[in-house]
């Protein structure tokens, strides 16, 4: 029942070659997996860890390439990606952020996984390494894929240089160290007083983070005035599929989706109001 083997892979490719075998799971920072291993409920005999696979880096050359094993504490220092920094800073506390990783956060089940909405708003792509080679789908596409996500190794997240303004809001039961009730990340490109490009992404209110297409459509091609913001927020709430859980009722999550989106849009536009 307990873990019988812990293998530290020295590369993403090495980890990928072991990942698909029965009874094997991958481990990033370990914040989600270690409690299960300690409690004896992991259900896997072998764990392949990425701690020594050389995936802890931030490289900038026009785009920002963040290794999947970058701690959230590192992500929380990225001044040029303020929405991503805001999301990372909202996760738990300092000591956990030194252990938790960007990649692991993308595998966290709702209501955890606060970084995906921001990365969706930023049009991030992911580099996946499998036994058959590499691929680099958009994060938005990868999140909607069915099937076993444990067979490929998430090695890197690539964030294009953001165009426009961004905003991020997260609501939780407590001010810190508690899972999100709802979170929203937005990006708006404004040209000649109208929104040329809009991204509205929501998290914690569906099995995986998603872009609220109807909200984006409502905003695109028109001024981002109070009416547009209000309607886009409601459209985003309609796109959520929350469930009742010990943190919040589905009703409350849906209400807070609208609030989070509205506040994220106002923040992006620099016109915050209560």
């Amino acid at each position: 029942m307990g873990v019988r083997e812990y293998v530290l892979a020295t590369s993403a490719e090495g980890a990928a070659s072991l990942a698909g075998e029965p009874g094997t799971v991958l481990m990033g920072g370990g914040t989600l997996l270690m409690p299960q291993a300690t409690a004896g409920t992991l259900g896997a005999e072998r764990v392949v860890g990425l701690h020594a696979a050389g995936l802890d880096y931030v490289r900038r050359n026009g785009v920002t390439a963040i290794g999947a094993m970058s701690p959230l504490a590192t992500v929380a220092t990225l001044e040029d990606l303020p929405a991503l920094r805001s999301a990372a800073r909202g996760v738990s506390g300092w000591a956990l952020r030194n252990v938790a990783t960007l990649g692991g956060n993308l595998y966290a089940a709702a209501p955890y996984g606060d970084l995906a909405p921001v990365l969706l708003a930023l049009d991030a792509t992911v580099r996946l390494v499998g036994p058959g080679g590499e691929r680099t789908p958009a994060l938005a596409d990868w999140l909607t894929e069915e099937g076993d996500r444990g067979r490929e190794v998430l090695a890197e997240v690539v964030v294009p240089s953001p165009r426009g303004v961004t905003g991020h809001r997260r609501h939780a039961r407590r001010a810190a160290n508690s899972p999100a009730v709802a979170s929203a990340a937005v990006r708006l490109v404004i040209e000649d007083g109208a929104v040329a490009e809009a991204r509205v992404a929501i998290g914690a209110v569906a099995p995986r983070a998603l872009r609220a297409a109807a909200a984006e459509e409502r905003l695109t091609g028109a001024p981002a005035d109070a009416a547009a913001i209000a309607e886009a927020s409601e459209a985003a709430a309609a796109a959520a599929s929350p469930v009742d859980d010990p943190v919040a009722s589905a009703w409350y999550r849906r209400r807070m989706t609208a609030v989070s989106v509205r506040q994220a849009l106002e923040s992006a536009l620099g016109s915050e109001s209560r």
């Binding site: 873990v3 530290l8 370990g30 300690t38 300092w94 000591a95 001010a175 810190a176 160290n177």
Partner: protein, 163 residues
């Protein structure tokens, strides 16, 4: 199952432990190395009572496989000070009753110590943010923030006097 020897520096001294796969730093500290000052409140990374420092950085010992500390330096509450030689943070916690049941105290003191090394003059908001991952069910946190402010002041005065 393979046992592995893990060698690292603990509170300034070289130590070695035997690790089963994914044994946590927390369980090895508490059960093999006699360091019971690091607590086990949840074993899920939620309470912060197992906070230790790895190469100076606060980490949750319940989430760190002990194998990851091979060759690194780990500091626990036992390494900060003793009853007759308290560190400034330990002293202000003691003097200002920033302790009730004491179970969260080692974790709080470890985070506070790391914070003050990084930020010698933190605001109350910065202190509160640094403590976000540490749960205290007794004090209501305010006396802890007060003690850390007082420790910051004491450290700055001492360093000013020594300068």
């Amino acid at each position: 199952m393979t046992m592995r020897a893990v060698s690292f520096e603990l509170n300034g001294e070289p130590v070695a432990a035997l690790a089963r796969p994914l044994d946590t730093l927390q369980s090895v500290l508490r059960q093999q190395l006699g360091m019971t000052g690091t607590k086990a409140g949840c074993r899920q990374g939620g309470c912060g009572s197992c906070t230790v420092r790895m190469d100076g950085e606060p980490v949750l010992a319940c989430l760190v496989p002990v194998e990851h500390v091979e060759g690194h330096s780990v500091t626990t509450i036992e390494g900060l000070g003793s009853a007759d030689a308290l560190s400034p943070v330990q002293a202000t916690f003691f003097e200002r009753f920033a302790i009730q049941c004491g179970f969260c105290s080692p974790g709080m003191i470890m985070v506070a110590t790391a914070l003050l090394e990084r930020n010698p003059d933190p605001s109350r908001a910065e202190i509160t943010e640094a403590l976000a991952g540490n749960v205290c069910r007794c004090t209501g946190i305010a006396p802890i923030v007060d003690a850390i402010e007082a420790a910051a002041s004491r450290i700055r005065e001492k360093e000013g006097a020594e300068a």
